[in-house]
Amino acid sequence: MVEGSTSTLTTDWVVAWLRESARVVSEQRQYLIDLDRAIGDADHGENLDRGFTAVVKKLDDGDHPATPGAVLKLAAMTLMSSVGGAAGPLYGTALLRAATSLGDTELIGPNEVAGLLTAARDGIVARGKAESGDKTMVDAWTPAVEAAGTAAMAGASVAEVLAAAANAANAGAAATEPLIARKGRASYLGERSAGHLDPGAVSSGLILQAAVDAAGAQE
C-alpha cells in the first residue's frame, strides 16, 4: 500500500485491480454467459473467468514484476494466452498498450490513469476496428476515456478519475441495449441483436469498477 497517499497509485494497485477484476468476473460469470447467450455464443463469462483466474495464478506463483507497467504486461500476455475468442486479443491488447503507455513509471497519477485508459481503448480499436455505436466494448471504453480525461484535466484525484471512467463505462454499457450490432458475433443477428446489452461492454464496466474499488482499498 502506498503510505498515506491517495494522489498516486503503485504496482500494488495494479495487482489489486487485477485480483478484484478476477473476483468480480468470477462472481458475474453466469450473468455474462447469459448476456452472451442472448446475442452470441454463451462463453464471454467463461472466457474471462478462465483468463483472470490464470492472471491471479500468475500473480500467486512467486514474485510478480516490480513496476505497474510490467505487471500489466504480464496480465496482458496471460489474458492473450488463456481467454481466446474475441475478448482475449482485445483485452490483451488493451492491457499491453496500457503497459506500454506507463513505461517504467512507478507512481501513477491522475494524468497517467487517463493516459493508460486511453492507450487501452486505442488498442481495442486498433485491434477490433469497431466504432462507437457498433455495440461492442468500445461503447464502454470511449465514454470512460473521455470522462477520465475531463476529470484529470479538471484536477481530480486518481480515485476520482477512475470513478468517472467506471461510471461512464457502465452508462455506456447500458446504452448498448437498443443498438444493432455491427461488429463481433452479435452482428450476425442483424436487427435481432437490438434489445440486449453487449456482454463485452458490460464486462468492461465491471473491470473499470474493479479499478475504482482497488484504488479505494489502497487508501
Binding site: 446475442i39 472466457n47 478462465r50 450476425y188
Partner: protein, 333 residues
C-alpha cells in the same frame, strides 16, 4: 443438461486425449499448449496447413489432420477460438520450410488470435499466409458487419487446399486454390433445436415445438429468422434459394453438394435434405459432380443441418478426389 462429460472445464482436454489415443496412427497430440499435428509432421518441402477454432464442431478440425488435408489443428475452448500461444507452436511444428497456410473461419476471435500468431511466427522466420473462410450467406457481407461467418465451406477448403499441398504446390499456389474454393462456396443452415454448451448449462436458445431458426451458425447463436416449422422439402428450398442467388451457378456448371448435420440430426434426415437439394440443382441443369453427406462441421448436439454448394472446376475435382487419410475423411490410395 445431460452430457457424457466429467468436469465441464476438462471437456476439450479429455476429448482430445481420447481422440489422440484412438487415432495414434494418424496424429500426435501436444498437450500444453494444446494442438494436434499430423503424425509425420513436419514434412520437408511441403506447405503446412493449419486450422483451428473453438471446440464443439467435431470432427472439425482435428478430424481433418492427416495426409491430404491439415498438418495441424488448434482447438480452443468450447466455441471459443484458440489463443496465439497454441497457434504459434502448431505453426512452427508443421513448417517444412515451404511456409504455412492458416485457414481461418471468419469470426472476430479466430481472426484476431490467428493474426497475432501469424505475426509471431513470421518473427520466428516462418512464412505464413492466411485465408478467411466466409461462406455463410445467412449473414450480410457488408462493411458495417464482421462479415460472413465461415461454416461448411471450411471442410471443403481444408480438403482441396490439403490436396494441393500434398502434391507439392507452393505456398502461393496452395493459398490461391484455397481462395478459389472460398470464392466459389456458399452455405446456409437451419436449427430445429439448440445445443447446450457444457459451461453454460442451458440451451443456447429456446424454440417451441413448431418453430425453427433459419440462418444459424455453428456456435448455437440464434439465426437470422425464426419461422414456423415446415417439411424437409420446404426448408431445403429456403436454404438453397439464398445460396443459389448469391453463388449464381449456371446451367451446365458442376458443383459439389454438401449436406452437413449439426450433430443431433439422423443421417436419414440429411439424405432427405440432400435428395431435395439435388433435385433443385438438377431442375436448373446444374450437375452434381461430387457429394458429401454427414456430420462434418457440427454445433455439439444441435438438431439441424446446413447446405453447402461449391462451384467446381476440374482442378478442384482432381484435388477433392486425391488421397486423404484423416480420422473423418478417408479415401484414395
Amino acid at each position: 443438461m445431460k452430457k457424457l462429460i466429467n468436469d465441464p472445464k476438462q471437456v476439450v482436454t479429455e476429448s482430445v486425449e481420447g481422440f489422440g489415443a484412438a487415432h495414434a496412427d494418424l496424429v500426435s497430440v501436444h498437450p500444453e499448449p494444446l494442438f494436434i499435428t499430423r503424425k509425420d509432421a513436419p514434412r520437408q518441402g511441403k506447405v503446412g496447413l493449419v486450422s483451428g477454432g473453438g471446440s464443439g464442431h467435431e470432427p472439425l478440425h482435428a478430424g481433418y489432420v492427416g495426409r491430404g488435408m491439415l498438418d495441424a489443428a488448434v482447438p480452443g475452448a468450447m466455441f471459443t477460438s484458440p489463443t496465439p500461444d497454441q497457434i504459434l507452436p502448431a505453426t512452427t511444428a508443421v513448417d517444412g520450410g515451404a511456409g504455412v497456410l492458416h485457414i481461418v473461419k471468419n469470426y472476430t476471435g479466430d481472426v484476431l488470435n490467428f493474426e497475432t500468431a501469424a505475426e509471431l511466427a513470421e518473427a520466428e522466420g516462418v512464412t505464413v499466409r492466411t485465408v478467411l473462410v466466409n461462406d455463410d450467406v445467412a449473414v450480410e457481407d457488408s462493411l458495417y458487419t464482421a462479415g460472413r461467418r465461415g461454416v461448411g465451406g471450411t471442410v471443403l477448403v481444408e480438403r482441396i487446399a490439403g490436396g494441393a499441398a500434398e502434391r507439392g504446390d507452393s505456398l502461393d499456389a496452395v493459398t490461391a486454390i484455397a481462395q478459389r474454393v472460398i470464392d466459389n462456396v456458399r452455405s446456409m443452415g437451419v436449427a430445429l433445436a439448440a445445443c447446450t454448451v457444457p459451461h453454460a448449462g442451458q440451451p443456447s436458445f429456446d424454440l417451441t415445438d413448431d418453430e425453427i431458426e433459419i440462418g444459424i451458425g455453428i456456435h448455437g447463436e440464434p439465426g437470422r429468422h425464426r419461422i414456423a416449422m415446415e417439411n424437409a422439402d420446404g426448408i431445403t428450398g429456403r436454404l438453397m434459394e439464398p445460396i443459389l442467388a448469391d453463388l449464381k451457378v449456371d446451367s451446365g456448371e458442376k458443383v459439389l453438394l454438401f449436406v452437413n448435420g449439426m450433430g443431433g440430426t439422423p443421417a436419414s434426415e440429411l439424405y432427405i435434405v440432400y435428395r431435395r437439394a439435388r433435385q433443385l440443382l438438377e431442375e436448373q441443369g446444374i450437375v452434381v459432380e461430387r457429394s458429401l453427406v454427414g456430420n462434418y462441421i457440427t454445433a455439439l448436439e444441435m438438431q439441424g443441418a446446413s447446405i453447402t454448394v461449391l462451384r467446381l472446376d476440374d482442378e478442384m475435382v482432381e484435388l477433392w478426389d486425391s488421397p486423404v487419410h484423416t480420422a473423418a475423411l478417408h479415401w484414395g490410395v
